[in-house]
Structure formats: structure tokens, C-alpha cells
């Protein structure tokens, strides 16, 4: 259960980045989370509600894109998506694959904001 510390870091990073957009209102924060990242999206959302309280992010939505695991198969010479995380084998030829190309991501992708100063222009 390290979701709360991860989300606290998300809230801090996004809050810092808002300094460049004074008066902007945050509508949503989008994350990219790999299927093998060992976090539970529902728990991240729950923690987001708590961690964003009293910050400029309060009331905004947390959107999470879950990325499937992609392995590189040497014999096939291809990067291929595998189903689930119970067996790390090439879906085409069945060869064991230890070369992971996607699936561990824990990233802040983007922030959706509403600019307040637009009205003045």
C-alpha cells in the first residue's frame, strides 16, 4: 500500500507545475500506469481524493491509462503485447521473454486546466 505516497508525489509535482499557469483551474490529471507497476488504479483514485484536499487539485478528476506489458522477442525480432502478467512468453512463438519494453510505467502524463485569464483578452 504505497499508493498514498505515490499520489502525494503526483499532487506535489502537478501543484509545482501550475506555477507557470497562474489562476488556472485543474480539471483532470492523467497518469500512465503499467500493468506490472504493482499499483491498484482504484486505490490511486481513492488516495487522490484525500491527497488533493486543500490543494489546487481538489475536486479534479484522476484519469488512469493502464498500459499492457510489452516484451521484446529475440527470435521474432518484434515487440509484442502479452496478455496478463502470469507468463512472460512471446505470444507468437511461445519463447520465454525477459526483455521488457513496457509495463512498469508510473508517470504523470498530462494535466487538463481551464485558463481564467482568457476572459480578459
Amino acid at each position: 500500500m504505497h499508493e498514498l505516497s505515490l499520489i502525494t508525489s503526483v499532487v506535489e509535482t502537478v501543484t509545482e507545475s501550475l506555477a507557470a499557469y497562474p489562476g488556472a483551474q485543474v480539471k483532470a490529471v492523467r497518469l500512465r500506469v503499467g500493468a506490472l507497476a504493482a499499483v491498484i488504479p482504484e486505490t490511486l483514485e481513492f488516495c487522490y481524493g484525500i491527497a488533493s484536499e486543500g490543494t489546487p487539485l481538489e475536486g479534479s478528476k484522476l484519469a488512469i491509462d493502464v498500459l499492457p506489458v510489452v516484451v521484446h522477442c529475440e527470435p521474432c525480432g518484434q515487440d509484442l503485447e502479452i496478455e496478463g502478467i502470469q507468463s512472460f512468453r512471446c505470444p507468437k512463438c511461445g519463447e520465454p521473454c525477459s526483455d521488457l519494453r513496457q509495463g512498469r510505467e508510473l508517470e504523470i502524463d498530462s494535466v487538463e486546466i481551464e485558463d481564467a485569464d482568457e476572459e480578459k483578452r
Partner: protein
């Protein structure tokens, strides 16, 4: 009002990753091989490490250990019986060690200078989930699994097993009474992390320790 998307594209663990990169540089500069030991609570990390420290010391190697627990310094006191310098890290409720904790405990460690060590072991908090996300700058992540835990543990905790560089099966001396299916355990580990080195050990009888120590010596030579 206009809505717009601001792209950030930043790792959530960026701060930890940067600190870990700094640690990796310090380890390399000191010429010390660093290993991060992870497992469930009760797997026998401490007993395995105690044996490893004693056996390495007997071979003349310079070793030290950092040991993480939520509370108590019981493990540090146990490990200190090996004669190696040991420092306890109490996380007070946090379920994993992070790079910042390691850095802080290396800094204030009077008995230990990294360039005076051959091996530094970090015993993580007993937890097969959260420590997988936190890079401690280690060269080798060792996942441990005991014969009392069930052969399907790798399938239940794929993230940790997939991120490991070596796997150690502990308590082999009681594999029989536990009806432990070694072939199945090995197959499951390989399914999650194809090609990983697997060691079958008993800290009590010393089974498998020579092979493990041989691996450590090779890894140290291969360093850098």
C-alpha cells in the same frame, strides 16, 4: 475560459530515481557490490543474510548490512552477531525502503566507508509489493522465497519476481515435511522471470551457500 492540456510526462518516482542514480554512482566509486534483498515477512531473509555475512567474512571479504523494518532493531542485533557492521533503518509504518532513507543512513554511519567494503547488503522491509517500485541503486535485486510459502508465490507477486536479478529459495532443509514441489517452484519463477539464476539454500545446514557465494564473487568481478 479555455480548456487545455499541459503535457508533463514525468515519472512519479522521479525524485527517488534521481537519488538512486546518485547512490549507484557512490557505490561504483567505492567499488562495493550492493544487493537489495526482498521477500515476504517470514521467508528467512535475516537468517539467510546472517549466514551470508558470516561465510563471506570467513573468506576474508569486507561486508556490511543495512536492514529495514517498520519497528524494532531485532534484526540488526541478530545480524551484528556475524561481526559485520550493521545499521537498522526503522521506517515507522512505511512499507518499503527508498533511496532517501539509504542515503541518510549511509551518511551517518560511523563504522562504514563504502570504499572499505566489498559487499553491502540491504535487507528490505518484508513485503513483496511496494519495495518493487523503489530503486535503491543496487546492482542486484534478490528475491527470496521459502519452502513454507507455496510454489505459486511468483505468480501471485509477478512484479517483484519479474524485477529481480536472482532468486533464492530458503529453508530447503524442511522442504520434505512441507511437501514443497521444487520443480514447480522453479517453473513458476522462470515463467515470470525467464532465465533468472535460482539458488536452493538452507541457512541452517549451509546447503547451496557455496554456489551463492560463488555467484556473489563473480558478480563482484563483473562489476563495472
Amino acid at each position: 475560459m479555455t480548456t487545455r492540456i499541459v503535457e508533463l510526462r514525468r515519472g512519479i518516482l522521479k525524485k527517488n530515481d534521481e537519488l538512486a542514480a546518485g547512490l549507484r554512482g557512490r557505490y561504483a566509486a567505492g567499488g562495493v557490490l550492493v544487493l537489495n534483498l526482498v521477500s515476504s515477512p517470514g521467508t528467512g531473509k535475516t537468517a539467510f543474510l546472517e549466514r551470508t555475512l558470516k561465510d563471506l567474512k570467513a573468506k576474508g571479504a569486507r561486508v556490511a548490512a543495512l536492514v529495514g523494518d517498520l519497528e524494532t532493531d531485532n534484526d540488526a542485533r541478530r545480524l551484528a552477531s556475524s561481526g559485520a557492521p550493521v545499521r537498522q533503518i526503522n521506517t515507522h509504518g512505511i512499507c518499503h525502503l527508498d533511496a532517501e532513507m539509504i542515503g541518510k543512513h549511509l551518511d551517518g554511519w560511523e563504522d562504514v566507508a563504502l570504499d572499505q567494503l566489498d559487499y553491502l547488503f540491504i535487507e528490505n522491509v518484508g513485503n513483496l509489493v511496494c519495495p518493487s517500485s523503489y530503486d535503491l541503486g543496487e546492482k542486484i535485486r534478490v528475491v527470496l522465497l521459502s519452502v513454507t510459502e507455496g510454489e505459486d508465490k511468483p505468480l501471485k507477486y509477478p512484479t517483484m519476481f519479474n524485477s529481480a536479478d536472482a532468486a533464492v529459495i530458503t529453508k530447503m532443509d524442511i522442504a520434505g515435511p512441507c511437501d514443497f514441489d521444487l520443480a514447480l517452484a522453479r517453473k513458476n519463477i522462470n515463467e515470470i522471470r525467464p532465465g533468472i539464476r535460482i539458488f536452493e539454500t538452507s541457512a541452517k545446514t549451509g546447503t547451496g551457500m557455496e554456489e551463492w557465494l560463488g555467484y556473489l564473487a563473480e558478480a563482484r568481478k563483473g562489476r563495472g
